[in-house]
């Protein structure tokens, strides 16, 4: 396990560098001069030249790359063109909204999808098993912001139970107010996410239900529920966990739409604002940090898979 962790950490570092390079190239491919974006319309040539010097876009591409990498090594993500403030503190501040939002939604989605998915598979012949599968099919076709708008309408406007949008200005200073602001967004993401998770849980359970070891456990006198809990969950979890990693990552990055519905000042709205204002350092910073988070999630998913499944840890075992 120790050697594996070492090797996996090395791969993690390599992919982070690779992703950084891809981002660097992608953002340099964008037409339009960052310097011009910095100044806005009506700047004369001398101003543009000065701005280029400031931004560094007058240098050859490999000098820019060197500067980019050395800044990165010092955790310096540059300053926003718009506010002239360093990007990293802004990102960290916004993560205090996006991270709890994503993690809470993910946990809630899991709590919904795992039991329902197992029931949908184990009771596929009953009406409620079929009903769960049908509803999840609907869930796959529903855009997340539509659910969000409907929830705002019903829960916040019609019933006045929760705030419709926004986040307390002092952040988590009043924890209850912050939590109230996050309940609807969390439920919105969790509902849509659980629909796709449910389908993976269901098909993993169906695979497990057909497995020889489960039939043997039944033959030894265990009920189906006992057999599923003792042998099924651990076996079924392995393929589901890699999917979970991908789902968590895409929720994190996809939070931009939900943050727009509820006007939450999170990472996603920073990205959207950065794109609208052509604020390159902000866009680059948000993408770099989210790539780092996505890679970390993948890392965690791989490690957890090996902890659950001894066959992955030691290729000799279990044969």
């Amino acid at each position: 396990m120790g050697r594996y962790l070492l090797r996996r950490t090395f791969v993690l570092a390599l992919s982070l560098i690779a992703a950084g390079l891809v981002l660097f190239v992608l953002l340099r491919l964008l037409p339009g001069d960052p310097a011009a974006a910095l100044l806005g319309v009506g700047a004369d040539d001398a101003q543009i030249a000065a701005a280029r010097e400031q931004v560094g876009s007058d240098q050859p591409i490999w000098v820019q790359l060197g500067r980019f990498l050395s800044d990165l090594a010092r955790f310096d993500l540059g300053k926003s063109f718009v506010s002239n403030q360093p990007v990293l503190p802004e990102i960290l501040a916004r993560l205090t909204i996006t991270l709890p939002l994503t993690l809470a939604a993910f946990t809630l989605a899991l709590c919904l999808a795992v039991p329902l998915g197992i029931i949908a598979a184990a009771r596929a012949d009953r009406w409620y098993g079929a009903l769960i599968s049908t509803i999840s099919q609907f869930g796959l076709a529903v855009p997340v912001f539509w659910i969000g708008i409907l929830l705002v309408w019903l829960v916040a406007i019609e019933w006045r139970l929760l705030p419709a949008s926004g986040f307390p200005i002092d952040g988590w200073g009043d924890p209850w107010a912050a939590i109230k602001a996050l309940i609807l967004p969390v439920v919105t993401i969790a509902l849509v996410m659980s629909a796709s998770l449910l389908r993976y849980v269901r098909s993993a359970t169906l695979d497990v239900l057909g497995a020889d070891y489960l039939r043997k456990a039944r033959a030894l006198g265990e009920t189906q529920a006992q057999a599923l809990i003792r042998h099924g969950i651990r076996n079924g979890a392995v393929p589901v966990i890699s999917i979970l990693g991908i789902e968590l990552a895409s929720t994190l990055l996809g939070a931009v739409v939900v943050e727009r519905v509820f006007t939450l000042p999170g990472l996603g709205s920073m990205l959207l604002l950065g794109i609208q204002q052509r604020d390159y350092p902000s866009v680059q910073g948000v993408l770099l940090i989210s790539t780092l988070l996505v890679l970390l999630i993948g890392f965690a998913a791989d490690v957890i898979q090996r902890l659950i499944d001894p066959r992955l840890r030691d290729p000799g075992a279990g044969r």
Binding site: G32, F138, L150, V257
Partner: protein, 269 residues
């Protein structure tokens, strides 16, 4: 067995018919202020009107055309680029193939919406074409990875060796053996991506990065109707249901196609 295929065909056919109809007939002009502001559903306006008195049903119908256009455009673009890249990667030498596969994996790690946002940001202003280009490019990475794996599987078959021995070139082998073998699976994948493309387009235009007015897409309709949902809920419900019917239909169609393939024993994926 064929039930999925039928449900899917009916739902998609309905959307396609409405989309085609908007080319020749609309209940009202798209920018015509034909009724009172935010009026409730009536015979004249089955889905009510928006805050400028424009008919919601007309706008939802135009939305169907835009959703179909973006879906078909992105599916064609993503399918073509993805298949070409995937087949080339499968043929490439070891090192190049590994590099391509790793790049595809990194691209796939980013959700379609994020890649699409970047493409829109890179182009000067959002339009129907940037949406198609953005979603199609993001889709092509997913298709390419699938095609690469499928092609490698076909290349390992004995009949490819036989074809090589009988003197067939790689180009002809691709056309005569590889494409016909991988096409059914690729079509199912493209169909599923079609549904995701419709949702991605709606999300893009909801964020204000999609088709600009007056060709309002469903996402943009939803974005505008959101602020008046308490007085005219149909403005949110109608485009949402239309979108769900199309995506659900496509997913059913893809499932039906896959069932059909599984039944056909010659083509096991």
């Amino acid at each position: 067995m064929r039930r999925n295929l039928w449900i899917g065909a009916v739902l998609v056919g309905l959307n396609a018919a409405v989309a085609a109809l908007t080319l020749v007939w609309l209940p009202y002009g798209p920018t015509e202020m034909s009724g009172g502001r935010l009026s409730p559903p009536s015979w004249a306006h089955p889905a009510g009107t928006d805050r400028l008195g424009r008919d919601y049903l007309t706008q939802v119908m135009i939305g169907a055309r835009i959703a179909m256009t973006v879906g078909i455009g992105a599916a064609l673009l993503g399918g073509l680029i993805g298949t070409t890249l995937g087949v080339l990667a499968a043929f490439a030498r070891r090192g190049l193939d590994d590099a391509l596969a790793a790049t595809l994996d990194i691209l796939i790690a980013f959700p379609t919406l994020l890649l699409a946002m970047l493409v829109v940001a890179a182009s000067d202003g959002a339009s129907l074409w940037t949406a198609i280009l953005a979603i199609g490019l993001a889709m092509s990475a997913i298709i390419a990875r699938l095609v690469r794996i499928l092609t490698k599987r076909v290349l390992a078959q004995d009949y490819i060796t036989a074809a090589r021995c009988s003197g067939l070139g790689w180009g002809k082998i691709t056309i005569a053996h590889i494409l016909p073998n991988i096409l059914p699976t690729v079509m199912v994948a493209v169909a599923l991506q079609f549904g995701l493309a419709v949702i991605a387009e709606a999300s893009l235009s909801y964020l204000g990065l999609g088709t600009p007015p007056p060709n309002a897409s469903w996402g943009q309709l939803l974005q505008q109707a959101q602020s008046t949902v308490f007085r005219a809920p149909m403005g949110v419900i109608a485009p949402g249901l239309a979108l769900i019917s199309l995506v659900l239909g496509i997913n059913f169609l893809a499932d039906g196609l896959r069932d059909l393939m599984d039944a056909d024993e010659e083509i096991q994926p």
